[in-house]
C-alpha cells in the first residue's frame, strides 16, 4: 500500500486538468446541449401551498406561437414507488389532485423554443380549492425513534430483494443520567439556538434533457450522483435500469441540491416519452426554490454542565426541524455528540410537518447545524469559567469516540488546534475592546468536525503500450479537483509522469461509482483508482517482473493492460457513516479562528481574517484542497451573516425566490487574508489512499466562532442566525 507521504506527486498543487475547458467555455453543463427536434419544458407549479387542484385552463396559450402541448395529471403514467437515498422526494407529483406545497408541479408546458414556454407558462390558469396551509409552529411533531444508543452507522433494511438504507440520524442517545448531572454541575450554560431555512443556490440551477430511443433513455442531467438516476427512473417509469444512460460530466455546483433524484427529472423523462421527442427542462432560479430541496429551519435546545476546571459533566441536546407533509427529512444536528468526552449524554430529535416540499442535505448538514449550538455553548462556558476557549476544548479532548469507545481511524486535532492558534496568533490576540476607527474588533474560535460518509467506489485503469494511462469512472466534475487528484493517484501508484494520465468521466457507460457529495468522492473513487492501479500491476506481473510498468508492457505483446478497482465497505454496506462496521470511528476535524469588525452604530459586521487548520487525513492536492476549504469558509460566512430563505407566514410560499432578496457572499465580503492549513497526516483506515473527507468540514463551527468574535467585539450574544445588522443593533440596544 502506498500511503507514505514521501512521493511528491500526491499532495502536489497541480493545476486542474479540466481548467482549460472551464476558462474557454468548452466545458459542457447539461443545459448546454441541444438535440435535433428537442422541445423545451417549463413546469407550472401549484399556486397555493395546500388544497386540491380543480382545473387547469390553457385556453390563453393558443395565442403563443411555438407551444406544442401542455401535459397535466391525465397525461401522466402512474409512477412506480421510488426509494429513499436514491430519490429526494418519495411522493411524486402529478399523480393526484392533492397539493402539499406551493410550487408542486401540476402541469408541464412544452414548446419549440424557450421563449415560447416562458411566455406561455404564466398564462396557464391553475384553479385550486385552497385550504389554509400548515405553518411553522402549527405542524404535527413526530419524535424520531430508534433503539436507544443505536450505532449511527446507519442500519440496512431489506425490501423486495434490494437493500435500502434507513436514515441513520436523529435517534435518541442516552448515556448516564444527564438530567441529574446537570443539576449537580458546578457550572451550567445552555439555551436555544436557531437556524433559518436556506436554499443551496448553486449557480447552475438544475437542468435535464431526456431523450428516448425506443425503450432506451438517455439523460443529460445536472447531478451529484449519476448512479442513482437509472434506478429511480426505472422504478418510476417501469423500465429496465440498464436501459438508462446518464451523461453528466460537469455540474455547476450543487451543495446537496443535486444529490438525490428530484421529481423534475422523472417528469422530464415522462414528458419526453409521451411526446416522442427529446425534452429539455432548465429550472429557473425561482423554480429551484420549490424543486430541489432546502436546509430546513431548525431549533436546538442545548445545555452543558461542567466542573470547575471546565471538564464536561453532561450534555443535553434536543433538536427540531421542519419537514414536508409527505416527506420526512431529519437534519441530524445531534451528530455532534461525539466531539467531546462527556460522561452523561441525552440527545433526541423531532420533525414538524408543515406545508413545504422535501428538505434535503445541504453543505454542511448534521454537524454543520449541530456545532452552531454546541460550539456556541462551549464558548459561553469558556467565558463563564474564565478559561481560554481553546484550552477548554483541549480539556475535553476525546481520545476515543465517546459514545462507542471505538478508536479513531486517525485524529490529529491537537496539532490542528496548535498550528491554527500559532498561525492566527491566538494567544497574542488583543482583548477587551480593540477599535479601528468606527469598528470594534473581536476574535473567536471553534472546533470543526464532520463524520465521514463512505460509499463503495469503482474505477478502471488502462495502461496502453505507448505508456499512456487512462482512468475510467462515472463520476461528475463539480469543481472539487477530483479528476486532477485521480491523475495524481494513478501517477503515484504506477510511477508514471502525471502528464501521461488522463481521465474519462461523467458517462454511465464507465464504471459506476459513488457520488460527489458528502465530501466522499476522494475516499471512494480515489481509493478505487489506487486499487485498480494495484490490480493492473498484479496483472502485468504475470507477463513481466520489470518494475517500471511502461518498460514491462513494452516487453510483452499486449496492446494494453487493464486493472479494475473496487473499494468496498465492511459488510458490503451501500453507504456508511462515521466508520460503519470498520471497527474505527472515522471523522474529519479542524479548528477555525476568526477576526471580525463590528460597527456598533450601524450594526455592520465584516470579516477581517480567518485561519482554518484541519486534520483530514492525507491531502491529495494542496491547491484544490485549499480551494475546497476557502469555499466552505466563505459559505459559512454567508450562513452566519446573511443567508436566509423565509416562508411567508400567511401562505407558506418562499419569499424572494431569487438572489436579490436572498443574499450570498460576494467577492468584496471575503478578504484575501484567509489561511488554510492541513496537518501532516495519513489515515490508514478510512480509505485505501490515506485520505479522509475534505471540504464540508470547513463550513462547520465557523458560525459559532463568528458569533463569539461578535461577542468579543461588542459584548452581545446572538443565538439566531443569520447575524444581521438588525439583530446586532437590537442586541446592542438592549445592553
Amino acid at each position: 500500500m502506498t500511503v507514505d507521504n514521501d512521493r511528491s506527486i500526491v499532495g502536489a498543487p497541480l493545476p486542474r486538468v479540466e481548467g482549460p475547458a472551464k476558462v474557454t467555455g468548452a466545458a459542457k453543463y447539461s443545459a448546454d446541449n441541444e438535440l435535433p427536434g428537442m422541445l423545451h419544458a417549463a413546469i407550472v407549479g401549484a399556486p397555493v401551498a395546500r388544497g386540491r387542484l380543480v382545473q387547469i385552463d390553457t385556453t390563453a396559450l393558443a395565442a403563443v406561437e411555438g407551444v406544442v402541448r401542455v401535459l397535466t395529471r391525465e397525461d401522466m403514467p402512474t409512477f412506480g414507488a421510488v426509494h429513499a437515498f436514491q430519490a429526494a422526494a418519495l411522493d411524486l407529483p402529478m399523480q393526484s389532485d392533492e397539493i402539499h406545497f406551493e410550487g408542486e408541479p401540476v402541469a408541464i408546458v412544452l414548446g419549440t423554443s424557450l421563449q415560447a414556454v416562458e411566455q406561455a407558462r404564466p398564462l396557464v390558469r391553475v384553479r385550486c380549492a385552497a385550504q389554509p396551509p400548515i405553518l411553522p409552529g402549527h405542524g404535527e411533531r413526530e419524535v424520531i425513534a430508534g433503539e436507544e444508543g443505536e450505532r449511527d452507522g446507519g442500519s440496512v433494511g431489506e425490501e423486495g430483494g434490494m437493500t435500502w438504507m434507513v436514515w441513520p440520524y436523529g435517534g435518541p442517545v442516552r448515556i448516564g443520567d444527564a438530567a441529574a448531572s446537570l443539576e449537580t454541575s458546578h457550572t451550567r450554560v445552555g439555551g436555544t439556538w436557531t437556524h433559518p431555512s436556506r436554499h443551496h443556490n448553486p449557480m447552475e440551477t438544475s437542468s435535464t434533457i431526456a431523450h428516448w430511443d425506443g425503450d432506451v433513455l438517455t439523460m443529460w442531467d445536472s447531478v451529484q450522483a449519476s448512479f442513482v438516476v437509472p434506478p429511480v427512473l426505472a422504478d418510476a417509469l417501469g423500465i429496465d435500469p440498464g436501459n438508462v444512460t446518464v451523461v453528466s460530466p460537469h455540474t455547476g455546483g450543487g451543495f446537496g441540491a443535486k444529490g438525490w433524484v428530484w421529481p423534475h427529472q422523472v417528469l422530464t423523462a415522462a414528458a419526453a416519452r409521451i411526446v416522442g421527442r427529446p425534452v429539455k427542462l432548465h429550472l429557473t432560479r425561482a423554480d429551484q426554490y420549490t424543486s430541489t430541496g432546502f436546509q430546513p429551519a431548525l431549533t436546538q435546545h442545548l445545555e452543558l454542565g461542567a466542573d470547575s476546571s471546565g471538564r464536561l459533566t453532561a450534555t443535553r441536546h434536543h433538536v427540531s426541524n421542519i419537514t414536508g407533509l409527505t416527506e420526512t427529512y431529519v437534519e441530524g444536528a445531534t451528530e455532534v455528540k461525539d466531539l467531546y468526552a462527556c460522561p452523561a449524554l441525552d440527545t433526541g430529535q423531532d420533525v414538524e410537518r408543515i406545508s413545504v416540499g422535501a428538505p434535503t442535505p445541504m453543505r454542511t448538514t448534521n454537524e454543520g447545524c449541530g456545532l452552531w449550538a454546541l460550539e456556541s455553548a462551549m464558548n459561553e462556558l469558556a467565558h463563564e469559567l474564565n478559561i481560554d476557549p481553546l484550552e477548554l476544548r483541549l480539556r475535553n479532548y476525546a481520545d476515543r469516540e465517546p459514545t462507542t469507545e471505538r478508536p479513531w481511524s486517525s485524529k490529529r486535532l491537537r496539532e490542528a488546534y496548535a498550528d491554527g492558534a500559532r498561525l492566527f496568533g491566538w494567544y497574542d490576540r488583543p482583548r477587551d475592546g480593540r477599535t479601528d476607527g468606527p469598528w470594534r474588533i473581536g476574535t473567536g474560535m471553534a472546533t470543526c468536525t464532520m463524520g465521514q460518509v463512505r460509499f463503495p467506489g469503482n474505477a478502471r485503469v488502462r495502461l496502453a503500450r505507448d505508456g499512456s494511462v487512462r482512468i475510467e469512472t462515472d463520476i461528475q466534475d463539480i469543481g472539487t479537483g477530483l479528476q486532477t487528484v485521480l491523475t495524481q493517484i494513478a501517477a503515484d501508484e504506477l510511477d508514471v509522469p502525471v502528464g501521461d494520465v488522463s481521465v474519462a468521466w461523467g458517462h454511465s457507460d464507465l464504471p459506476s461509482t459513488g457520488p460527489v457529495y458528502a465530501s466522499s468522492a476522494t475516499v471512494h473513487t480515489g481509493s478505487a483508482v489506487a486499487l485498480a492501479c494495484r490490480e493492473l500491476r498484479k496483472n502485468l506481473s504475470e507477463y513481466s517482473d520489470t518494475p517500471s510498468v511502461t518498460d514491462a508492457i513494452a516487453e510483452t505483446d499486449l496492446a494494453e493492460i487493464v486493472g479494475e478497482g473496487k473499494f468496498g465497505l465492511e459488510g458490503n454496506a451501500p453507504i456508511d457513516v462515521g466508520g460503519g462496521d470498520s471497527g474505527y470511528a472515522i471523522r474529519s476535524f479542524g479548528a477555525v479562528f476568526v477576526e471580525v469588525a463590528v460597527d456598533p452604530e450601524l450594526g455592520l459586521l465584516r470579516l477581517r481574517r480567518m485561519v482554518g487548520s484541519y486534520s483530514c487525513g492525507r491531502i491529495m492536492n494542496e491547491r484544490t484542497a485549499r480551494a475546497q476549504m476557502i469555499g466552505s469558509l466563505t459559505w459559512a460566512w454567508g450562513k452566519a451573516t446573511m443567508e436566509r430563505s423565509e416562508l411567508d407566514p400567511a401562505t407558506a410560499r418562499w419569499l424572494s425566490k431569487n438572489l436579490t432578496g436572498v443574499h450570498v457572499p460576494a467577492n468584496a465580503d471575503i478578504p484575501a487574508d484567509i489561511i488554510v492549513h492541513f496537518v501532516d497526516e495519513v489515515d490508514p483506515h478510512a480509505s485505501a489512499i490515506g485520505a479522509r473527507g475534505v471540504g464540508e468540514v470547513g463550513a462547520t463551527g465557523v458560525d459559532a466562532a463568528i458569533a463569539d468574535a461578535v461577542f468579543d467585539a461588542v459584548g452581545v450574544r446572538i443565538r439566531d442566525l443569520p447575524i444581521t445588522p438588525k439583530r446586532l443593533l437590537t442586541a446592542i440596544g438592549e445592553t
Binding site: 493545476p15 486542474r16 479540466e18 481548467g19 482549460p20 475547458a21 472551464k22 476558462v23 474557454t24 467555455g25 468548452a26 466545458a27 453543463y29 443545459a31 448546454d32 441541444e34 423554443s113 424557450l114 421563449q115 411566455q119 448553486p202 449557480m203 447552475e204 440551477t205 460537469h250 455540474t251 455547476g252 455546483g253 432548465h282 429557473t284 432560479r285 466534475d477 463539480i478 469543481g479 472539487t480 479537483g481 491547491r623 484544490t624 485549499r626 480551494a627 475546497q628 476557502i630 469555499g631 466552505s632 469558509l633 466563505t634 459559505w635 431569487n658 438572489l659 436579490t660 450570498v664 457572499p665 460576494a666 467577492n667 468584496a668 465580503d669 471575503i670 478578504p671 484575501a672 484567509i674
Partner: protein, 154 residues
C-alpha cells in the same frame, strides 16, 4: 439586424422576445455564457462584452444589438488558441471550482482591467463583486485578476 460576435458578422432576423443570452446559446451555440437566473439577479453568470462593456446578456434583447460588437468567452483566446492572459491567470491562481460562473468572471475581469479598476486587491474585490461565485473562489479570483492585470497593463 447585423452585428458581430467574436469578429464574425451575423445578419439575420431575430425574434423580438429573445435575450442576447438565449440567442448566443441557441443560435451560434456559444454556451460559454451561462444562465443563472435570466433576470439580472444571479450576479451575471451571463456576462459578455457588448462593444467592450460588460453586460448581463440575459437583460439585453438581441434585437437591441444592431451594429454591436459582442465578445464572449469563446472569442477571448487568439486565433491560434493561445489563451488570453486573464484565462491563463484563472488557471494559474485556481480561480474556479465548478466553473459555471467562470466565463462570466473572466469577461468581467477583462473589462475591469480595461477600465483600470484593478490597482489593488480591494479595488478588484469591489469591481468584481457583480459576479457571484457560490463555490466561492473569491480570494483566488482576486489574485488572478491582479496577476493578469500586471501582465496586460505591464
Amino acid at each position: 439586424m447585423e452585428f458581430r460576435v467574436n469578429g464574425e458578422i451575423h445578419s439575420e432576423q431575430v425574434s423580438a422576445r429573445t435575450s442576447l443570452l438565449d440567442w448566443l446559446r441557441e443560435h451560434p451555440g456559444l454556451t460559454g455564457a451561462k444562465k443563472g437566473c435570466a433576470e439580472g439577479a444571479c450576479g451575471g453568470a451571463c456576462t459578455v462584452l457588448v462593444d467592450g462593456v460588460r453586460m448581463n446578456s440575459c437583460l439585453v434583447l438581441v434585437a437591441q444589438c444592431h451594429g454591436s460588437n459582442i465578445t464572449t468567452i469563446e472569442g477571448l483566446a487568439d486565433v491560434d488558441g493561445v489563451l488570453h492572459p486573464v484565462q491563463k491567470a484563472f488557471i494559474g491562481e485556481d480561480a474556479f471550482q465548478c466553473g459555471y460562473c467562470t466565463p462570466a468572471q473572466i469577461m468581467s475581469a477583462v473589462a475591469s482591467i480595461r477600465e483600470r479598476h484593478t490597482s489593488s486587491a480591494e479595488e478588484v474585490q469591489e469591481w468584481m463583486s457583480g459576479n457571484l461565485c457560490h463555490c466561492s473562489a473569491y480570494p483566488q479570483i482576486t489574485a488572478a485578476v491582479l496577476a493578469a492585470s500586471k501582465k496586460v497593463t505591464g
